[in-house]
């Protein structure tokens, strides 16, 4: 067993902090995130309000903490759905090959010619802005990366002796696929999943900023920054702190992903 590396530990500490915010926001937030305070409008960071306040006197620290829940939800849903879909497709295409393989190859080539963000935005434009439609859009585009990983991994596993043995023993195809090949092929996919969480946090907050993802009053870091951009000259802290937290969360996921790749010796 290899020792845990410094980046992995660092990444997990950052993630732990963000997760704590998502789990117990009421305990950690010093104020009600929606409570107006007209005595402290656009107040700069101070001991009472470490992240300052916005144009309604709402405490930015509390708003940032309460937004963690939706951003972590994005990190989870915007990776799990594409992952499950991609893994299933990669598994079946890799196993059966033939025509399915040909169609799959064409489809992958097609999807990668569309700029990821442009395609996601186009689908959100058609379905309408909002979190659920954003998840649908990311799933339609994002499954490809997972399917490719799974596909190439299945091709390797398929040639393994244990698969031949399982066939000789007369095991059913679903049993071989899900009980034998899947557990052996899933490792690179799971490592990619963690790194992908960093990407979708950036993607989700970008769409929130553009007004295409989470919709106000849903508290999401990108939405908070969009709120603050109109006051950027007078009160830069409104946008500055939620943005810094996005960077921390992104850093947490990507360090953890890199650390896991090293630990599990997954080549990328």
């Amino acid at each position: 067993m290899k020792r845990l590396s410094a980046p992995l530990i660092g990444g997990m500490i950052l993630l732990g902090a963000v997760m704590l915010c998502a789990m117990i926001p009421d305990v950690l937030a010093p104020y009600d995130p929606l409570g107006f305070d007209f005595a402290a409008l656009l107040a700069p960071p101070s001991a009472a309000h470490p992240f300052g306040t916005d144009q309604f006197g709402r405490d930015m620290l509390s708003r940032t903490i309460s937004a963690a829940r939706i951003d972590l939800q994005i990190a989870l849903f915007a990776t799990i759905f594409p992952c499950v879909l991609g893994v299933l497709i990669g598994l079946f295409v890799g196993w059966y090959g033939g025509v399915a393989d040909m169609i799959f190859g064409r489809l992958v080539d097609l999807v990668v010619t569309f700029p990821f963000l442009v395609l996601v935005i186009a689908i959100v434009a058609i379905l309408g802005p909002g979190l659920v439609n954003m998840y649908i859009a990311i799933t339609i585009v994002g499954w490809v990366a997972y399917a490719r990983l799974m596909h190439s991994e299945v091709l390797v596993q398929k040639a393994g002796e244990y698969v031949a043995a399982a066939r000789v023993l007369g095991y059913s195809t679903p049993r071989i696929l899900f009980r034998h090949i899947l557990p052996n092929a899933i490792r690179p996919v799971l490592v990619y999943l963690v790194s992908d969480m960093a990407l979708v946090i950036l993607l989700g907050s970008s769409l929130g900023y553009l007004g295409l993802g989470a919709q106000p009053p849903e508290a999401e870091w990108g939405v908070l920054i969009a709120d603050g951009k109109n006051f950027f000259n007078q009160a830069p802290w409104i946008a500055l702190f939620p943005g810094a937290v996005i960077v921390i969360a992104g850093l947490g996921f990507s360090l953890t992903g890199d650390g896991l790749a090293d630990l599990l010796e997954v080549k990328r």
Binding site: R106, D109, L110, V112, T113, F114, P115, F116, L117, V118, L119, I121, A122, I123, V124, A125, I126, L127, P129, A198, L202, S205, S206, Y209, L210, G211, L212, G222, I225, K229, F232, N233, P236, A239, L240, G243, I246, V247, G250, L251, S254, L255
Partner: protein, 312 residues
């Protein structure tokens, strides 16, 4: 396969790709739940207005007929009319595309200009402090959303120090470059991280390759080995990387243009979503995908020219 034959077959591959892109965009546009026309007109939709818009969008025909007309129109260079601005979509895109092109190109130049030398410094000092410092800065680049980097640059260098304009686009070439500088830096930040990371890894791999040992053993000066052997091979990897990332740069440009109010196609796309200008969104998706597939083509050709093994 010789080079000529490889080139012809690669060029021919672009045709089915274009057809598939067109087909995908057509299907995408018809994913719209419910009736587009009623959604567009809302409560204002009299029966007459609905019928007129349905006919204008060609939605009164059967799906195969629509598909045929759609491909025919594309071949004639007609991508429909903008519903919001009432002009030809092609005119609109032709107006805006050079802006995005210039922004993306500038970002690419900045990213490569910064990342290539730093990748060398990092690789040659692997795991010592210059390497660690460079990797940390770029790790931040990978974790920072482009709109946030843009906002910070805007506050510090445009609103604060007043070195750069807060947004928009100039008239003369120099003025345009000046306006696009900050957006290009924002867009370049995360891309330079990708280039640096990959280039560093490939330089490290090349440094330990046998032909480099051999060149050294022949007594060729270390610096010459570095430039003639290591740089060339590492650059091949970078060319591929740049080609593969055109799509993500264009995606980043959509966000950057919105932050800096740059009148490019990205801003047009976001604006069109809020004005429900479906023909513009559809056309832009098509045009950007075609551009990316052309970028892939150019990448393949450049790669073949740099590395003859590709065509075999």
């Amino acid at each position: 396969m010789n080079r000529g034959a490889w080139l012809v077959s690669r060029l021919l591959q672009i045709i089915p790709t274009f057809i598939l892109i067109g087909l995908a965009v057509f299907v995408l546009a018809r994913l719209l739940p419910g009736n587009v026309v009623e959604a567009l007109l809302g409560d204002r939709g009299t029966d007459e207005a609905v019928a007129r818009l349905t006919a204008q969008l060609g939605l009164d025909k059967s799906i195969p007929v629509q598909l045929l007309q759609y491909f025919k129109a594309i071949l004639q260079g007609d991508l429909g009319d903008s519903l919001a601005m009432r002009i030809k979509v092609t005119t609109l895109i032709a107006d805006r595309l050079p802006v995005t092109g210039m922004l993306t190109l500038m970002a690419m130049v900045i990213a490569i200009g910064v990342a290539v030398p730093l990748a060398f410094v990092a690789a040659l000092n692997a795991n010592r402090w210059p390497d660690l410092a460079i990797r940390w800065v770029f790790q931040l680049g990978l974790s920072s959303p482009v709109f946030y980097v843009g906002l910070i640059l805007l506050t510090v260098f445009a609103a604060g120090l007043r070195w750069f304009p807060v947004g928009g686009y100039g008239d003369t070439l120099g003025d345009k470059l000046y306006h696009l500088f900050l957006p290009a830096v924002a867009l370049a930040f995360s891309f330079s991280a990708v280039v640096m990371r990959n280039l560093r890894a490939s330089i490290l791999a090349v440094l330990t390759a046998e032909y480099v040992d051999f060149a050294r053993a022949k007594g060729i000066a270390a610096r010459l080995v570095l430039f003639r052997h290591v740089l060339r091979n590492a650059l091949i990897a970078t060319v591929t990387l740049v080609g593969l990332h055109i799509g993500s740069l264009l995606g980043g440009a959509v966000v950057t243009e919105s932050v800096f109010a740059v009148p490019g196609v990205g801003r047009l796309m976001v604006d069109s979503i809020f004005s429900r200008d479906y023909p513009v969104i559809q056309a832009l998706t098509l045009v950007l995908a075609v551009l990316v597939s052309l970028a892939f083509l150019v990448t393949d050709i450049v790669q073949m020219w740099l590395d003859p093994r590709v065509s075999r």
